[in-house]
């Protein structure tokens, strides 16, 4: 049975418990990294949400899963609000694929 996992600091992710996500709290970056790794390896979590603060710190780990169909490791803004990580990632991917970040807002 597959579930949605959520990794982040306690204040940011506690709320997700209420809607049935499996929440894993982590106080430090290495701890979060370990958690994400074990979640990704277990193959029971096709979607893993990670707060931006930790997401930025573990780019290396995340890129090792970027070629696989699952899991999808997705950044979400934490308690400090969005730092623009998600949109920056989209921009980087566009540049990688097309060679230029063309205006898509039209």
């Amino acid at each position: 049975m597959n579930k949605i996992a959520c990794v982040g600091d306690k204040d940011s992710v506690l709320g997700f418990m209420a809607i049935g996500f499996e929440v894993h709290t982590a106080d430090t970056l290495p701890e979060a990294e370990k958690t994400v790794k074990s979640l990704a390896e277990s193959a029971e979590y096709p979607v893993i949400f990670v707060t931006e603060e930790y997401y930025n710190g573990m780019q290396h780990l995340i890129s090792s899963y970027s070629e696989k169909t699952v899991p999808a490791i997705i950044s979400i803004p934490g308690k400090n609000g969005s730092q623009g990580t998600g949109l920056a990632a989209v921009k980087a991917l566009t540049e990688k694929a097309i060679g230029a970040d063309i205006a898509l807002n039209s």
Partner: protein, 218 residues
């Protein structure tokens, strides 16, 4: 710069190379078409991804504010206690979809438990602010799942496009020109041999004629 490959200038090699050139041209055309179509799909997905991202971040920001308010009106233990045993459980089904032979995930989720009943706690120990926060969060679950799906598709498609683009470029700028020059050089070499052969025959014929004439005179 195109370089001539190291092959023997024979007819066998020539016909082999010509076949390879034909295959390379065909492959180049196909890959180019694949790339163009993938880019088209990619742009659609990226646009969708961007919209979803902005929306989700906006909504999550709101939810976080609600939770901060809730946390301010209750003790953090009470909040944790209220949320720790959820009534809802999300079961995620993963399917795959094929976009131009890139396998992307497709997520379907089902919530166990009744739709209306998202509150996992009695209302005695909690404040109304927490209800608002949980309610707001429950509304964006579908958006979150969709975002995950789109973002993953974008990631996978981007790396595939990059690979295809490299292949197209390698064929267009290295493989095909090299084959072309090699074919040309072999053709020239063979022609040169042919011409050499003809001149030699003509020369021998002249010599033989001169000899017979000389014999007749004497």
């Amino acid at each position: 710069m195109a370089t001539v490959m190291k092959v023997n200038p024979t007819r066998m090699e020539l016909s082999k190379l010509k076949k390879r050139l034909k295959t390379a041209r065909r492959g180049h055309k196909l890959l180019k078409d694949k790339r163009d179509e993938m880019v088209k799909q990619f742009l659609e997905l990226v646009r969708k991804n961007r919209e979803l991202r902005t929306e989700v971040e906006e909504n999550l920001k709101q939810v976080q504010t609600f939770f901060s308010v809730a946390a301010a009106t209750m003790s953090s233990q009470a909040v944790e206690e209220a949320l720790i045993c959820p009534k809802q459980e999300i079961v995620l089904e993963t399917d795959t979809k094929n976009i131009m032979s890139v396998i992307v995930p497709k997520f379907n989720y089902t919530m166990t438990g009744k739709d209306s009943d998202i509150f996992s706690y009695g209302f005695v120990t909690t404040t109304a602010e927490l209800d608002v926060a949980v309610g707001a969060l429950a509304k964006i679950v579908s958006q979150l799942v969709e975002l995950a799906e789109t973002e993953k598709s974008v990631q996978l498609l981007a790396s595939e496009i990059e690979k295809t683009r490299r292949r197209v470029n390698a064929l267009e700028h290295v493989m095909i020109p090299n084959l072309e020059v090699t074919v040309k050089s072999i053709v020239m070499k063979l022609d040169e041999n042919e011409r050499g052969n003809i001149t030699r025959l003509m020369k021998i014929k002249d010599m033989m004629l001169a000899e017979t004439r000389h014999e007749n005179i004497t």
